[in-house]
Amino acid sequence: MKHVRAVLASASLALATCAMAQQPNPMDNVPDKMPNDIPYGTPISLDKAQAAISAAIAESKKRGWKLNVAMVDSGGRLVAFARMDGAQLGSIAISEHKARAAAMYRRETKAFEAGVQGGNNYLLTLDDVIASRGGIPIVVNGQLIGAIGCSGGTGSQDEVVCKAGAESVK
């Protein structure tokens, strides 16, 4: 039995080595440019943040949805927040988390969702990541000034409302 195991182990090791030789690990690729190289700008003003929240809530109301909307500044810290009547309580923290992750990682949280869906589970080991769409950075004149996060519906619903808010700032 021991002998059989040893043979199997060496065979599978050989197979693995063989497979690696044929398919290079995509993680070994070294791109020339930095990804998401967006400079951080002046923190978003309260007026702009509130305008984005109003736009997001208007979109949500139009569709009869009840969401939480959070706006953070370029440092990922809360500037404004609103919970629509009847929105679920668990999403208060999620909406802020999505906004914070979008600002801290300078990309839509959808990128993490897609990465995990594609099998890159290591993304979940990165600090303070949330792998769910509905967090979008606010980039004005090439600079990241804040981010918006929505939560309370499906990820796709959150994203529609989030986009309405983000686009109102530009």
Binding site: L46, D47, A80, F81, R83, G86, L89
Partner: protein, 136 residues
């Protein structure tokens, strides 16, 4: 100050604040602060951090409002109790015993709390008292 339990907690109370809550945020003193409104469950309903107010102000406003909403009394009550020598009160769970948090009481029922941070504590309280007054 009302101390009894809300007859209809949760959404009914939350909706009640939020209908008027946004108008409840006012800036009569031109001070730079963060203001938070929470429902009777101590859950955040609305928050603003004015330009120039620090990230800490936002957290402090939420903490004060939460203390007021959950304990149904002004955070000043907590501050003064401790100041009077009741140091054991510092061990109470989730308490921020600093002036600038008030319960929102409607028809003798506490439906939430409001907190402010950014100026001196007694001024923080003036701001939120004006906000509550605006609720009518």
């Amino acid at each position: 100050m009302a101390r009894r339990t809300a007859q209809r907690p949760g959404h009914a109370a939350g909706a009640r604040i939020s209908r008027n809550g946004r108008e409840g945020i006012s800036y009569p003193f031109n001070w730079i602060v963060a203001i938070a409104i929470l429902d009777d469950g101590g859950h955040l309903l609305h928050l603003i951090r004015m330009d120039g107010a620090s990230p800490f102000n936002a957290r402090a406003a939420i903490a004060k409002g939460k203390t007021a909403a959950e304990t149904r009394r002004s955070t000043l009550v907590w501050e003064e109790r401790i100041k009077a020598g009741r140091n054991s009160m510092l061990g109470m769970p989730g308490i921020t015993p600093v002036q600038g948090g008030l319960p929102i009481v409607v028809d003798n029922v506490c439906v939430g709390g409001i907190g402010a941070s950014g100026v001196q504590s007694h001024e923080d309280e003036q701001i939120i008292a004006a906000g509550i007054k605006a609720l009518g």
